[in-house]
Amino acid sequence: MKSNQCHYACGSDEHLIARRPFLGSLIAGGAALSGLSSFANPAVSAQLASQQKRMLVIRMHGGLSQLESWDPKPGTDTGGPYRAIPTSVPGMHISELLPYTAKKMHHLSLVRSINTKNGDHSKGTYMMLTGRHPMPGTDYPEIGAVVAKSMDEGGPSLPGHVKISANGTGARSADAAYLGPKYASMSLGGDKPLTNSTRPSDLSEDSAKARDEIRSLVNNRFGSKRRTAETDAYVQSFEQAEELVKRAEVFDLSQESKQDRERYGSHDFGRHCLLARRLLENDITCVQVSHSNYDTHNENFNFHHEQLGEFDRPFSILIDDLHQRGMLESTLVVVLSEFGRTPKINARYGRDHWGNAWSVCLGGCGIQPGAIYGKTNANGTEVTDDEVDAGHLFHTYLKALGLRSTSNFEIGGRKFPIADPAFEPIKDILT
């Protein structure tokens, strides 16, 4: 079937008018920038928030124990020493290590029946972020790239896919596969403003503007006849860099109030959650925050106590803030990991890798609040009801965001299914 969409180096007018949404977005970007201070007003924020859907991924790096979080089995041979506590949803219990989150579960839901049949870190990460089972020679884009691409209105903008972690480098990652570098994630460390994001002092504003105009002119002339994916990536990188320079304060946590910085906490994860809020408020489409580390082969209980003690409060504050600001209904929130941890407790009080029966927490945009999907047996050793794979979850995320998960991307004349056609969304937890 012939596509209506223009592809590379065809010389059509479509390439030229593609600059119009660029300018439009630039104006919108300027408006958003000027409106930064208004976000402190929830009513203004809510109005803006309703205009765009977004996704927040909290990645519990290393493999969060489902038994010490979303699917506790207290009093059993596998349950460990922690108790389950009631949540704000009648009948729903989670681990006592999450007392603040427990009070926000009426905004969130649980899927307790994941069986990815995998205990390898890199495979598990790949599966959970791409919704695909790894295949040699084939690469698929991560959820952040897929969402950023799907929500992209065509003009230049800030990177739509940002990852925040303690080891953030400021670099772009190769996680967008065939969607190209425009949708690759930008890695942030979170607690410092962007580096190299201001105009050099010895370059005047007029000189910089003149230089950019020459660059644009030459780019357009070249692109009208010899456009390739590489030249597009080059242009897009420049455009995003320009936006970053113009809107560097979007990434500057010091712009947030002292009160908010204290609420979220002085540790990395607290700062990263606050930065995530700031980025989502400023229309970054997909923000992923990593919390490290849960790979607790040794002393699972002590380490989960320490790690979840750090996670619990800022995460619950973030959920509350998104709700208060009217953003939760347009922001899909997913707390995921590469796998869970073994029900069996080893000699070092540890739990090992386990992909056969584990959980994720999700909520917000398109997700029924307070739902529990799927079930494991009494001591959590196997899924008993409604088993799902990473592929089902991926479809669910897209559907929740209002995307047709069975559609295709058209890249260079080829169709790429947006999600693995072997799976489908989990309809029971969608609104």
Partner: protein, 348 residues
């Protein structure tokens, strides 16, 4: 006593992985905390029938056990934050012993409990960063000590009856004048804690702690030289402090060849021998002389050890194991086994 002749005198199988162990001060029983949310009482005999094993239902994992009332009362501290009083020698005919008293003592885990030298006070430490003092006779709170900023892993009363020392995850030690409720001094066992930059977490703390009977030394045990916190890659360590001098450890006892694991329990024998039980990469008993850094004797155990206790007679060690066995070791030569006569059929 000859520690080089140490052997398993008897092996008591509980079934559920074990967490802790303590001898009854009177030498009648040995108690073991297990992952089945119980403490088990067993007679100190390899010939005891299974029916003589008694369960004390704690509804939590119990790492802390101590005795009061001249050994007639066992007080447990569990991961549910409760202290429970049990009659240690209670009637076993029903297969279980009912508690005398249970109190909500802490918000979060209790990892350690101890009895004052005069037997009147029980000290407990919780994940709420508090040390609380309780009247052993009626369970009423009589004091609270605050000062730790990380989870308190262990505590011990000094034999002088004036001081209490507590140690936390960050390997900080606080010497308390517990009657006055005041800190006397603080110091740190630097080698027993590390921030793992890969996993972004601290590992360490005092997994075992004890005073020498004369009160001149304080020993703490744990893990050192950690290269991978989340895999537990590091070496067992026992640090010994001169109580009067305080400050840095006078010696750190390590294992010859660098065994891997954690020293989950430590004992200072009255004859000067230092002993640790190790788990993590196989179980070991390690023995040191007071002035030697490396062990002079070790025993490979059948399974990872998770706790150690020295018997009141100074001749036995109890080790609690992940495989659900409680092993009682005698530190002297094994009596020659009496050979059983062969069946008649084999004689011919």
């Amino acid at each position: 006593m000859d520690v080089t002749q140490t052997h398993v005198a008897f092996d008591l199988e509980i079934g559920s992985p074990l967490i802790s162990c303590r001898f009854d001060p009177a030498g009648r029983f040995v108690f073991a905390g297990a992952e089945d949310f119980r403490v088990w009482r067993m007679p100190l005999s390899d010939t005891a029938a299974d029916s003589e094993r008694v369960e004390l239902i704690t509804d939590s994992w119990v790492r802390g056990m101590t005795f009061a009332d001249s050994g007639e009362t066992l007080i447990t501290g569990g991961t549910d934050g409760r202290l429970i009083w049990f009659p240690a020698g209670g009637d076993a005919s029903q297969g279980k012993i009912e508690p005398v008293r249970a109190i909500e003592a802490h918000d979060g885990w209790i990892r350690t409990v101890a009895t004052s030298p005069d037997g009147k006070l029980i000290a407990s430490a919780g994940n709420d960063l508090k040390i609380r003092l309780w009247n052993a006779a009626d369970g009423k709170q009589v004091g609270e000590l605050s000062g730790h900023e990380s989870h308190i892993y262990n505590l011990a009363f000094h034999p002088d009856g004036v001081h209490l020392v507590s140690g936390d995850l960050m390997a900080n030690l606080i010497d308390w004048d517990f009657a006055a409720g005041k800190q006397v001094r603080t110091w740190k066992a630097e080698s027993l804690v590390k921030f793992d930059k890969t996993f972004l977490a601290f590992i360490g703390g005092f997994r075992g702690m004890t005073f020498s009977p004369d009160g001149r030394q304080l020993a703490g045990s744990g893990i050192t030289n950690v290269s991978n916190a989340f895999a537990g890659i590091g070496n067992p360590s026992v640090v010994v402090f001169d109580w009067e001098a305080g400050g840095p450890a006078t010696i750190e006892h390590l294992s010859k060849g660098g065994l891997q694991g954690v020293a989950w329990g430590v004992a200072l024998h009255p004859d000067g021998t230092r002993i640790a039980a190790v788990g993590g990469k196989g179980g070991y008993l390690l023995f040191w002389k007071a002035k030697e850094a490396e062990d002079f004797h070790r025993i490979k155990l059948d399974n990872d050890a998770r706790d150690l206790h020295l018997s009141p007679d100074g001749l036995h060690l109890a080790t609690a194991h992940h495989d659900g066995h409680l092993r009682i070791h005698r530190m002297e030569a094994e009596a020659e086994k009496v050979k059983e006569p062969k069946p008649d059929a084999e004689k011919s």
